[in-house]
């Protein structure tokens, strides 16, 4: 069964906390990774790797650079789940 937006958001919060040490409650849909959460491109790769483990959705490097906000990742995961 596909994950809800809320479930993906919570999962992402855990990932961002683990990878970058940003508290999960700061990971809200409108936040940008780079400017708001101070996450660099290498941490984004780690987040993509962890997201693949957690959600079973691969985010290749060329797609990753277009995912600016938390909501962008949520949408990407949901779209990938639908098409899977």
């Amino acid at each position: 069964m596909a994950l809800t937006e809320q479930e993906i958001l919570e999962g992402l919060g855990e990932i961002v906390d683990e990878v970058a040490g940003v508290p999960a409650d700061q990971v809200t849909p409108d936040k940008t990774f780079v400017d708001d959460l101070d996450i660099d491109s290498l941490s984004m790769v780690e987040i993509a790797v962890a997201a693949q483990d957690k959600f079973g959705v691969e985010i290749p490097d060329d797609q990753l650079k277009d995912l600016k906000t938390v909501q962008d990742v949520i949408d990407y995961v949901r779209r990938a789940e639908v098409s899977a």
């Binding site: 683990e18 660099d40 491109s41 290498l42 790769v45 780690e46 993509a48 790797v49 693949q52 490097d61």
Partner: protein, 322 residues
């Protein structure tokens, strides 16, 4: 036909390391390429690295590290009958580095070969050495990882010149003291992925080292933790028993990411890259020799080694710290 008598197991008797004298700081690099200290520290975790002098060869560094390991082992040169040099930056194609290094150390007529598994080279060579001891092919083996990456660096390429450096590290591998003793070098878990051969390479003898950093980072942070854990499983050692984790010093961010995943809360994690840079096959024995010198890991404790690099060659094994 007869076979040689084997040994119950192999162990590492001693490590030795060598770094060239010249220190190159991030500030120095930022004078010639568009980078800065803060960026380098945050992205790769390096504060300074060592670069060999123009006349200092891979063999010179290998002799230094090998000599230190031999001296620390208490063996004499006549005890050593095999010398393996792991390097991907030999000065010349023939003769190999190992025979020259052996001669200069005073080791008479040992088996001698170079091997190239890039940054995984030391762990591959250690596995070869342990197997040679266990089967009786060799009595005592000098294993050296030595690199002069500076001669393959484009000093205007800020994606590589901030990372790679020079150095050497060595280990003496011998049989366990008593056949009843537990082995000191665990079984290797190794492999490769040639499908990713285009991610790190030196095209030809007139080219510089190229690395697709983000792709390598993704591979390293996703593929390697399970590989490290397989080596623990093969050795029958729980990650919680590890006193040290010494992954190849590729990038501090990779080191930290793998360390987070393997679940070894007691393990000291090697961070030698901070002042050594990425020295390819030298990084693991160099880091280990310095950690032992500083008293960071106790003799008899378990350490997990993990080599990985170009060709996406990888190898991991648990050892008992000498």
């Amino acid at each position: 036909m007869r076979l040689t008598d084997g040994q119950a197991g192999a162990r590492v008797l001693a490590f030795g390391g060598y770094q060239p004298a010249r220190v190159v700081t991030n500030d120095e690099l930022s004078q010639t390429v568009d980078t800065n200290d803060e960026w380098i520290r945050s992205r790769v975790g390096i504060e300074s690295r060592r670069i060999a002098g123009p006349d200092e060869s891979v063999a010179d560094m290998a002799v230094q590290a090998g000599g230190k390991a031999l001296a620390a082992s208490g063996l004499s040169t006549s005890d050593v009958d095999l010398v393996i040099v792991a390097t991907c930056t030999p000065e010349v194609q023939i003769p190999n580095t190992a025979a020259t290094v052996a001669k200069r150390l005073g080791i008479v007529a040992p088996g001698a070969y170079d091997m190239n598994a890039a940054c995984a080279g030391f762990c591959y060579a250690l596995a070869n050495a342990a197997d040679a001891v266990r089967t009786g092919t060799a009595k005592n083996v000098l294993v050296i990882g030595a690199e002069k990456l500076s001669q393959w660096i484009d000093w205007t390429d800020r994606s590589t010149c901030i990372i790679f450096a020079d150095g050497a590290g060595a280990a003496v591998v011998s049989p366990v003291a008593d056949p009843g003793d537990a082995p000191g070098v665990g079984p290797v878990y190794w492999g490769s992925d040639g499908g990713l051969a285009d991610k790190i390479f030196i095209k030809d003898r007139d080219s510089f080292i190229f690395q697709e950093g983000q792709a390598v980072f993704r591979w390293a942070t996703s593929a390697l933790a399970p590989i490290a854990l397989k080596a623990c499983e093969k050795a029958g050692v729980e990650p919680t028993e590890l006193a040290a984790f010494i992954p190849h010093q590729a990038n501090l961010r990779i080191v930290e990411a793998i360390a987070r995943k393997i679940g070894a809360p007691q393990a000291v994690v090697a961070q030698d890259i901070v002042n050594a840079g990425n020295t390819s096959s030298a990084s693991i024995p160099l880091a280990l020799s310095r950690m032992i010198e500083r008293g960071e890991i106790a003799s008899g404790s378990k350490a997990l080694l993990l080599g990985f690099g170009a060709g996406m060659c990888y190898a991991a094994q648990v050892i008992t710290v000498p």
